[in-house]
């Protein structure tokens, strides 16, 4: 049961990757580790654990919702006040498609952004264990472990080159 967290700070990406390997070799589970960085690195740089995401579902659902809203607005408003103008049909499809298209795209984009936030697990109420040096170029390796293994994790992080190791609550 993980009940404390440690953050090791590295300047060199290679050392950070080595830290993940060393921690795994020392018996720390992959899914209890995380990597924090101030900018993106190529996928797999640190051999980190990666959970699947379902971001691509969000725009599709959004598009369907938007299309339905667009249809409701265009058809509903015309049917509720059926005023014939210029001999044109009450439900005039070509102009309706303009508004339905815009509503579809708008909703798809809003759902995509919501999906990005949801899948990124944002917003978070608390920042938790973190260090401002991460956005200065340092790489943070987070390891969650039971209290009794904290010293071992600290030792591993320092052995592979961590410039600093912080513990939760310190």
């Amino acid at each position: 049961m993980a009940n404390t967290k440690l953050l090791g700070l590295f300047q060199d990406p290679q050392e950070a990757a080595d830290a993940i390997t060393a921690l795994r070799e020392d018996g720390f589970p992959h899914e209890d580790m995380d990597v924090y960085s101030g900018s993106p690195f190529p996928e797999g740089t640190f051999g980190e654990y990666e959970a699947a995401h379902r971001l691509y579902v969000f725009p599709l659902v959004g598009a369907l919702v938007g299309f339905a809203i667009g249809l409701l607005i265009t058809a509903g408003t015309q049917i509720s006040y059926p005023l014939v103008t210029g001999g044109k049909p009450i439900l005039s499809i070509p102009p309706m498609t303009v508004i339905m298209y815009e509503m579809t795209m708008l909703s798809a984009i809003i759902f995509t952004v919501l999906g990005i936030l949801f899948e990124s697990r944002l917003p978070k109420a608390r920042l938790g264990l973190y260090d401002a040096r991460i956005t200065e170029g340092y790489i943070g390796i987070i390891v969650a472990c039971p209290q009794e293994r904290a010293e071992a994790a600290d030792g591993v992080l320092r052995r592979v080159g961590a410039e600093d190791v912080k513990r939760e609550g310190q």
């Binding site: 101030g38 725009p59 607005i73 006040y81 005039s92 815009e102 952004v113 899948e119």
Partner: protein
């Protein structure tokens, strides 16, 4: 010689956040001037609302003048941001990095400004909501969805919301950078905006997908917006407006004016905020090459419009084109538009020295937008003021001082909003610049060191 500057993460933070974390005297002076001039324009708009449309130069039969011209102009400018950002992101063009945020932000502010113009043009701004929003439940009278004047706000609202979300999503990692370098209330505000961003691999991966996915979703919206604006004209029965080529002509024209505006913006930003390490000759060169392609495409569509109009030999079409081409002041405006938008800048952009000169690119990009403003003016006014059958009143249009003040004020408004944005957020995406630094290297080939891009 093509070369790169290597900057550390700490240096990127320091230089790109300089205006956010410190007070720049030039910024204060410019913001004060722009703010003052915006206040003058707001006063003019207040005067117009109080007095009514009689204080404008609008009169039968010309009911669309400077305000609608300016509306189309700013919608056009707004097309650069997302177009540049989306296309360059989708094509993974490395040189996009310093320009995407500023271009996207300009899209947002240009759209806000453009949206104000029809509202001011209505004379009684509050009444416009009856025409465009389906909210009047008491009377049960709804907006007419068959009217292009309802399509317009729908499209622009969609584009504006999408662009704001696009900018916001890419800003989240930069909020975290500011959170980490600020104290007090700023730390609290930026912390709330960063929403607990850590920058773990999952968040970075989703941030990368977000850029591509949102780009792919916004591109069709971007094309639809100016097409719909063009249909304000195209679906009417006014000669010279009722042409099928208007949608692509407007879209490509918007891209031309928008990309030119981005060039202007990049050069001004570079000078104002000392961004020499981030905005280089090759960025401006890349945009100039893009401008050549866009300008040629736009020119082709412009001639199609002219040839199709004259080919029919219809009196009304020819009357409008005679006004545009031979009747002063419209002929002067036409000459200004054609010279500024195409004849002068495009041949100049063929020369590498011009494309890599900040001064020349500033002048030519400004010229294009002067020309494009006149283009929109000569599309609108001569078509309405022509003498035709059943027209008992015809004549010219001269914008009043109130209109000129409001329209001039919109330029300062966009400048003011950009300056305000630059005070609170970095105009160049910090995390994208850091990522870009990581993926480049220099390869020694014989006696030269060639910059190389390393990609997955």
């Amino acid at each position: 010689m093509y070369y790169r500057r290597t900057v550390s993460d700490a240096q990127i933070n320091r230089e790109l956040l300089d205006n956010v974390l410190n007070t720049n005297v030039r910024w204060v002076v410019l913001a004060a001037i722009c703010g003052l001039l915006v206040a003058v324009a707001v006063s003019a708009a207040g005067f117009l609302v109080n007095q009514g449309l009689g204080v404008t130069g609008l009169n039968r039969p010309v009911f669309w003048g400077f305000f609608i011209t300016n509306f189309i102009f700013w919608v056009g400018i707004s097309h650069a941001g997302v177009m540049i950002s989306a296309i360059l992101r989708l094509s993974q063009a490395e040189w996009r990095r310093p320009m995407v945020r500023a271009a996207e932000t300009m899209t947002v502010f240009a759209l806000m400004t453009s949206l104000m113009m029809p509202i001011i043009h209505a004379g009684r701004p509050w009444r416009i909501f009856y025409w465009v929003l389906p909210y009047d439940f008491a009377r049960g009278i709804w907006p007419d969805v068959r009217s292009p004047l309802v399509w317009d706000p729908t499209a622009i609202t969609t584009y504006l919301t999408s662009s704001m979300l696009f900018v916001f999503t890419a800003l989240i990692p930069d909020f975290a950078v500011i959170r980490d370098r600020s104290t007090g209330w700023r730390h609290v505000v930026y912390g709330a905006l960063a929403m607990g961003w850590h920058g773990n691999p999952r968040q970075w991966k989703l941030q990368g997908i977000a850029g591509v996915l949102l780009s792919a979703l916004i591109l069709p919206v971007f094309v639809s917006v100016h097409s719909i604006v063009s249909w304000d004209f195209g679906v009417s029965l006014v000669p010279s407006w009722h042409v099928t080529v208007f949608a692509p002509y407007f879209v490509v024209g918007a891209v031309l004016s928008g990309v030119s505006a981005v060039v202007t913006l990049m050069i001004v930003m570079r000078r104002l905020f000392h961004l020499e390490n981030y905005i280089w000759e090759e960025h401006i060169d890349g945009l100039a090459r893009l401008l050549v392609v866009v300008a040629l495409g736009w020119h082709f569509l412009f001639w199609l419009e002219l040839v199709f109009a004259l080919w029919l030999l219809e009196d009304q079409e020819i009357t409008v084109w005679m006004l545009r081409l031979f009747e002063p002041p419209w002929s002067w405006f036409f000459a200004t538009f054609y010279l500024c938008s195409f004849v002068i800048p495009v041949p100049l952009w063929m020369f590498r020295r011009v494309r890599r000169s900040f001064q020349m690119m500033l002048i030519t990009s400004l010229l294009v937008n002067v020309g494009m403003f006149f283009e929109r003016l000569i599309i609108i006014v001569p078509a309405l003021m022509r003498k035709g059958p059943f027209t008992f009143q015809y004549g010219t249009y001269r914008p009043s001082i109130v209109e000129v003040t409001i329209v001039a004020g919109t330029f300062f408004l966009v400048g003011f909003l950009m300056l305000m944005f630059s005070k609170f957020f970095p105009l160049i995406p910090i995390w994208e610049m850091k990522e870009g630094q990581r993926l480049v290297d220099n390869v020694q080939v014989g006696r030269v060191s060639v910059p190389a891009l390393v990609k997955e």
